[in-house]
């Protein structure tokens, strides 16, 4: 395939972008991204509240918000992203902070905290949640039901009682 064929191919795909709609999480930004044959293509949207939205590209560079995405659309979006399990350790104004589980597939360090966006359930402190990772942000998906709730209780109690973390040991 020559460069010109590739350009034509991508050009047609770009032009047909206005006929499509896509779902995207939005968190205090006016930029959303979509794929065009594997390429990341960014579009500008009007500022809006954080949430999951259906987006419609108006032209190559701008898009409008059609409405909020429903649960199924959100699930479909998150299904495509690799999953990361994160233990929530604090709640900020409109996002949570957590630490990834030790043996995560992305090699994320447990020494650094990471923000978790768009948490719409009400998880408790030290709950493990499943997030979708798009390469730069962690989007909340669900609470990890496989996690032992007794472990979370133990950590919460230890935290409230001011126990020494180096000596606290959970016995299953």
């Amino acid at each position: 395939m020559s460069v010109f064929d590739l350009i034509d191919d991508l050009g047609e795909e770009e032009e047909s972008l206005t006929e499509t709609k896509f779902v995207s999480p939005v968190f205090h930004t006016d930029i959303v991204a979509t794929w065009v044959k594997g390429f990341v293509h960014k579009l500008k949207i009007p500022f809006t509240d954080p949430g999951w939205y259906r987006i419609h590209p108006i032209d190559m560079f701008n898009a409008e918000i059609v409405g909020e995405a429903d649960f199924i659309q959100r699930e479909q979006y998150l299904k495509k992203l690799p999953k990361v399990r994160i233990i929530l350790i604090s709640k900020q104004k409109d996002f949570h902070i957590g630490i990834p589980l030790k043996n995560n597939a992305h090699g994320l360090s447990i020494e650094n905290t990471i923000p978790v966006f768009l948490v719409d359930d009400i998880p408790s402190l030290f709950d493990t949640v499943i997030c979708g990772f798009d390469g730069s942000s962690f989007w909340y998906n669900d609470i990890d039901i496989k996690n032992d709730p007794a472990k979370c209780d133990f950590m919460r109690n230890s935290f409230e009682n001011g126990a020494d973390p180096t000596k606290s040991r959970f016995k299953a």
């Binding site: 590739l6 991508l10 770009e14 594997g38 390429f39």
Partner: protein, 532 residues
């Protein structure tokens, strides 16, 4: 002047090739001028050798400038020949250096700052400084510039292809030397009026084009250079990105690999093929900084395994071009207290030499005991980085202990590189172990000392007093532009071999321009006032 002093100046010069002044050419002006005045013949040969083998443009700029104003006719010819061979932007730099110019020097503050889009970059302070020789350009130089400009003017296509990328440099050459441009050159450069036959009309077409497909096609069809095209485009779409990748030079591609990956260019099969085929071409390219790829990898932004391994291949291939180390070599890395810089330098040297060696290489870190470091896999920079993880600074310094370990294991080496500050304070000492090793293995290895940190003179003078053939280099910083120069040094059997090779390099000569436009005459021209 003693023989020793003469050697020191040459050595200092070779030393300076190991570090890059990053546009602050005043830093290297003194050493160039000293060598030029003391040994002008050697200086001219060194310039010719550096033109062929050198990496750092700042040195090339100073070589050409110093030789152009040299009082020896032969040396002036070499300077003008180098000037003739360098690209247009370098011609302007040489002219600026002779006349004196203002340069902007960027200093990293060590802090990071966030920019638009959430990216984190190094915070820099920009310092403006005057550098140069502050001399009047000689007439021969002016004539050479004039010939070059007339040569460009003689062929419209040739002129346009240079003007598309170097319009500002061409303007400087015309204006600074008061050379009258042809009418066409005057219109293009000074009035931005592009004739109908000019390829530069494409700029306007790109600015007026409405679909990104058309912009992309125009960029590819007219071979608009990447740097120029990026300035013309408001926003980059996938099709435009493909056009830009197609027009990138090998160095530009290496510089932008991480950003291309982030934009998803590697997710598309055809674009990946295009990028990989371009990386293959980088291997053969002459104008690529050897360790650029490794540096790009060090940032951790390139995550694609296949591209990453290709970058290693490219870097190794580029390093090999600087020379092949054919002698069995040992690298001793000082890991004693506060020798963090030596460890960092050791990693880079090991990665660099292992990519360019055809003979066995032994890397040993030492304090008062030796510790052999072995990289697994392809012995790339990241492999060496992993291998150096357990090496931490601390303890006393016995530079003889790694040599003793080599002797005890009957390991034969002909070259020893010691990265140290020379603060030897524990036994066995290097001098005592050297004679023992030489007797046992029947070889007297060359010793290359790379001094780091606050170095002690004592160690090097002990070696010289004991008759050990020693070369000392003191690179300023450990930046990747200068480091490949180390391979050039290690690939020769001794410093004398390198100096002989330099002296045997034929001087560069000027070539006659094949086709030169006549001087423009505007005697009866109404627009004369504008043009004069």
């Amino acid at each position: 002047m003693t023989q020793n002093q003469e050697q020191d100046i040459r050595l200092q010069m070779l030393n300076s090739f190991l570090s890059c002044p990053h546009r602050d050419t005043d830093q290297i002006k003194r050493i160039h001028s000293e060598l030029q005045s003391k040994d002008p013949v050697f200086y001219a040969h060194l310039a010719s050798w550096y033109r062929k083998n050198g990496d750092i443009r700042d040195h090339m700029e100073v070589f050409a400038s110093m030789l152009i104003i040299d009082s020896y006719h032969e040396n002036r010819e070499v300077g003008l020949a180098i000037f003739q061979q360098v690209p247009t932007f370098m011609k302007t730099r040489v002219l600026g250096f002779i006349k004196g110019k203002k340069v902007k020097i960027r200093h990293k503050t060590g802090r990071k700052k966030k920019i638009k889009g959430g990216k984190t970059i190094d915070d820099v302070n920009i310092e403006e400084k005057m550098v140069g020789l502050y001399k009047n350009p000689p007439t021969a130089f002016k004539r050479e510039i004039k010939q070059y400009l007339r040569y460009l003017e003689a062929d419209n296509k040739r002129f346009d292809s240079v003007a598309v990328r170097n319009a500002r440099d061409l303007k400087t050459l015309y204006a600074s030397m008061r050379i009258r441009p042809s009418r066409r050159a005057n219109d293009i450069l000074f009035h931005k009026k592009y004739p109908k036959d000019s390829g530069l009309n494409v700029f306007e077409e790109i600015l007026n084009a409405k679909s990104s497909k058309k912009i992309a096609r125009l960029i590819v069809e007219n071979k608009v250079p990447y740097t120029t095209a990026v300035g013309l485009i408001e926003k980059i779409t996938p099709s435009i990105l493909v056009a830009l990748i197609n027009n990138m030079s090998p160095q530009e591609l290496m510089n932008n690999l991480a950003s291309l990956e982030e934009r998803g260019a590697l997710n598309n099969k055809q674009t990946r093929e295009l990028i990989e085929s371009k990386i293959e071409k980088v291997k053969k390219s002459k104008n690529v900084s050897a360790l650029k790829g490794k540096q790009a990898k060090k940032t951790g932004r390139i995550k694609d395994a296949s591209v990453s391994s290709k970058i290693d291949e490219v870097s190794d291939e580029q390093v090999k071009k600087r020379g092949t180390v054919k002698l069995p070599t040992a690298i001793f890395v000082d890991r004693s207290g506060s020798m963090r810089t030596a460890i960092e330098m050791g990693k880079s040297c090991a990665a660099l030499v292992s990519g360019a060696t055809e003979a066995p290489l032994y890397v040993i870190a030492f304090d008062s005991m030796p510790m052999e470091i072995q990289a697994k896999g392809n012995k790339t920079y990241s492999d060496w980085e992993r291998a150096f993880i357990p090496v931490r600074p601390g303890g006393s310094t016995s530079i003889g202990c790694p040599l003793k370990a080599l002797g005890d294991s009957n390991v034969y080496v002909e070259q020893i590189v010691i990265i140290t500050d020379g603060g030897e304070n524990a036994h066995p000492t290097f001098v005592s172990e050297y004679s023992r090793y030489a007797n046992k293995m029947s070889v007297r290895p060359n010793v290359v000392i790379i001094r780091v940190g606050n170095w002690y003179e004592q160690f090097a003078s002990n070696l010289k007093r004991s008759g050990i053939d020693t070369e000392i280099y003191t690179p300023q910083g450990t930046d990747y532009y200068g480091l490949p120069g180390l391979v050039q040094i290690l690939s020769r059997k001794s410093k004398l071999d390198l100096l002989m090779e330099i002296m045997n390099t034929p001087l560069v000569h000027r070539k006659k321009y094949s086709n030169v436009a006549p001087d423009p005459k505007y005697k009866n021209d109404v627009s004369r006032k504008v043009l004069v």
